[in-house]
């Protein structure tokens, strides 16, 4: 097996909550609480979960935009977890990010061409005419016309803006693209175009994706493997087909049951979850899902389940798997 493009081990990110004049520490938000995964070349890992479960924090920590509290991030075999900003720079060429909001992720005062050209200039990859030609080439790759390089972000539609965002991420020929909900702000018809673009680019460049979404249909379409997050932890981690056909964790089962089926005559017994997501400031003891789980047992309230293989290659963190 070839070396994974990225390996994340026991990643934690706790945000301190400070109050008062003396900035006294009054608590911690356990945004990410021990997340591990790896992505191989040309593979897409879908990361799903409710809003506030720590998906975006995982993305930002992996990108080293925020400092992890604990854990390690290995990029192509090199540990980049504790690298300084300067030492990190060459590694930034290997991973780039596409953001959720196509409006705030592009500087309104720069032309689309300048936005895509910028990474080339920052890393000294190309300049002048060469950079212009490379930019034009990337524009074509993402389905934009080179003539649109002089346009400002507000002159593009949402889908086109996201294409500019993807073009910026592609400029440095990265191996990994972290896509944080890249299509959730788009219309459904545009979503499909952008997803297909991402998949085409993956085939052409052997790209790896960490694809974050809350839309299960989208994740099912683009991912090879899927990780389900709940309150800062991965609760289920499996091959896409396996996960969608035979979900093992009660949370995944509930998520899949909540997906609308486009057939009004089909009546299903829906197991809808009750209650709210627990606060990541004070996560419940034991399994974080025990407050909402239909199969809750006494030991769920005290003992935190670890990820274990329910079937080969299919991991889930649930005491039910113990039989």
């Amino acid at each position: 097996m070839t070396m994974p493009v990225i390996e994340v081990e026991g990643l934690k990110k706790h945000f301190p909550i400070r109050k008062g004049l003396l900035r006294r520490l009054v608590g911690q938000v356990h945004a990410v609480d021990g997340v591990s995964f790896s992505i191989a070349e040309g593979e897409t890992l879908g990361l799903v979960g409710e809003s506030g479960c720590g998906k975006s924090t995982v993305a930002r920590t992996v990108m080293r935009l925020i400092e992890p509290t604990a854990g390690s991030i290995r990029l192509g075999g090199t540990d980049v977890t504790r690298l300084s900003k300067l030492a990190m720079r060459p590694f930034r060429r290997q991973m780039q990010m596409v953001f959720q909001d196509p409006f705030s992720s592009l500087n309104p005062r720069m032309t689309a061409g300048a936005i895509v050209r910028e990474p080339l200039l920052v890393h000294g990859v190309a300049s002048g005419r060469e950079a212009d030609e490379r930019t034009a080439e990337i524009f074509q790759q993402v389905g934009l016309r080179a003539a649109q390089m002089g346009n400002f972000p507000h002159q593009f539609s949402g889908g086109q803006r996201q294409r500019v965002s993807i073009a910026r991420a592609l400029a440095l020929n990265p191996r990994l693209i972290v896509a944080d909900e890249p299509v959730s702000a788009l219309d459904v018809s545009i979503q499909a175009q952008v997803i297909n673009l991402l998949m085409d680019l993956q085939r052409e460049h052997r790209l790896s994706y960490l694809f974050i979404a809350h839309d299960l249909a989208v994740v099912e379409h683009i991912s090879h493997r899927v990780a389900v997050m709940y309150v800062g932890r991965i609760v289920e981690y499996a091959d896409k087909r396996e996960l969608f056909l035979r979900p093992q964790h009660p949370y995944t089962q509930a998520l899949l049951a909540a997906v609308p089926v486009p057939n009004p005559r089909l009546k299903r017994a829906r197991k809808l979850l009750e209650g709210d997501v627990p606060s990541p400031v004070r996560p419940p003891p034991g399994c974080a899902f025990h407050t909402r789980c239909p199969y809750v047992m006494p030991r769920c309230k005290t003992e935190t389940p670890v990820l274990q293989e329910g079937s080969p290659g299919h991991l889930a963190a649930c005491h039910l798997l113990d039989g």
């Binding site: 780039q96 990010m97 500087n107 920052v122 890393h123 965002s165 910026r168």
Partner: protein
């Protein structure tokens, strides 16, 4: 669509704006008020440059015979109590008043932007200390602070510009800081960090250009008050030294005594100041729109 209307549509959208005249015409059509502001400011600047060409009298020549002469004849804006030509003094005064107004606003904004950007971007202790210093400066009125600096530096044109510029710093720094704080959280800043851009370059390339709009509004609003502050400083003997004319001093030295007996001593400098403030505000408004790519369509 018929070819003719299409062409008209294009030229209205500025597509045909080629050359200096074409662009000037486009500017006048799209921003008529801004064009008026530009014309007012151009007249003042030209008057300041060519002051000796467009005036017959010297602004400094006194004559007891003409003391407080009413407008008309040789003194078409009248004469002050020393018999100096008000028209000549206003034209020459444009040099000092515009230099002080534009100079101190520019200097104050430059310092304010640097302080605000650094404070908002770096945050932490630096921000805390800088903001408390700004608090102290803002606790004093503009004039009092300017007085302190003017008294310390001594009366001269550059010193007047500096002493008026410094009190402007806190308000500019505050606005730029709060803008920086908001911008720092936007995704395009994160995107720049993800590229691996240096913090310095990020602040200059991505944050600074997005603070231009409030800065222009603030700067044009401050311009008028700097001209008036200069008047007060000069009145107190701490501004540009006598006998050089400035609008502010012309206004302040005659406002109390001659308001009733020789109103032209108050009206003409007052009109000059108002026009300059009005002109910069109109021009500033148009500039803010022109510099915003979203407004250009």
């Amino acid at each position: 669509m018929a070819g003719g209307t299409y062409q008209a549509e294009l030229s209205r959208a500025g597509a045909g704006a080629t050359g200096v005249w074409g662009q000037a015409l486009f500017f006048v059509r799209s921003y008529p008020l801004g064009a008026i502001g530009a014309v007012i400011m151009a007249i003042f600047v030209l008057a300041a440059i060519f002051a000796d060409v467009i005036t017959a009298q010297s602004p400094l020549t006194t004559s007891a015979r003409n003391s407080l002469a009413a407008p008309g004849g040789t003194f078409w804006m009248g004469a002050d109590f020393m018999g100096r030509d008000v028209y000549a003094r206003i034209v020459y005064g444009a040099r000092i008043s515009l230099a002080v107004g534009i100079g101190s606003t520019t200097l104050g904004c430059l310092i304010g932007v640097s302080v605000g950007l650094a404070s908002g971007y770096l945050g932490g202790w630096f921000d805390l200390i800088v903001q408390r210093v700004m608090d102290i400066m803002q606790a004093l009125p503009l004039l009092v602070l300017a007085l302190v600096f003017a008294a310390a530096l001594g009366p001269s044109l550059p010193n007047t510009i500096i002493s008026i510029a410094i009190p402007l710093v806190p308000s500019v720094a505050r606005v730029i800081r709060s803008n920086t704080l908001a911008l720092r959280e936007l995704a395009f800043v994160e995107a720049a960090q993800a590229i691996g851009m240096s913090e310095w370059r990020l602040a200059i390339r991505h944050i600074l250009p997005n603070t231009v709009a409030p800065l222009i509004v603030l700067a044009t609003a401050q311009l008028g008050s700097t001209i008036l502050t200069e008047a007060s400083l000069s009145f107190l003997g701490l501004g540009v030294p006598e006998p050089f004319p400035s609008w502010g001093r012309m206004l302040s030295e005659s406002a109390a005594e001659y308001m009733r007996s020789a109103p032209w001593l108050v009206i003409f400098p007052g009109v000059a100041i108002s026009l300059a403030v009005f002109g910069t505000n109109l021009l500033g408004d148009a500039l803010r729109d022109i510099l915003d790519p979203r407004q250009r369509g």
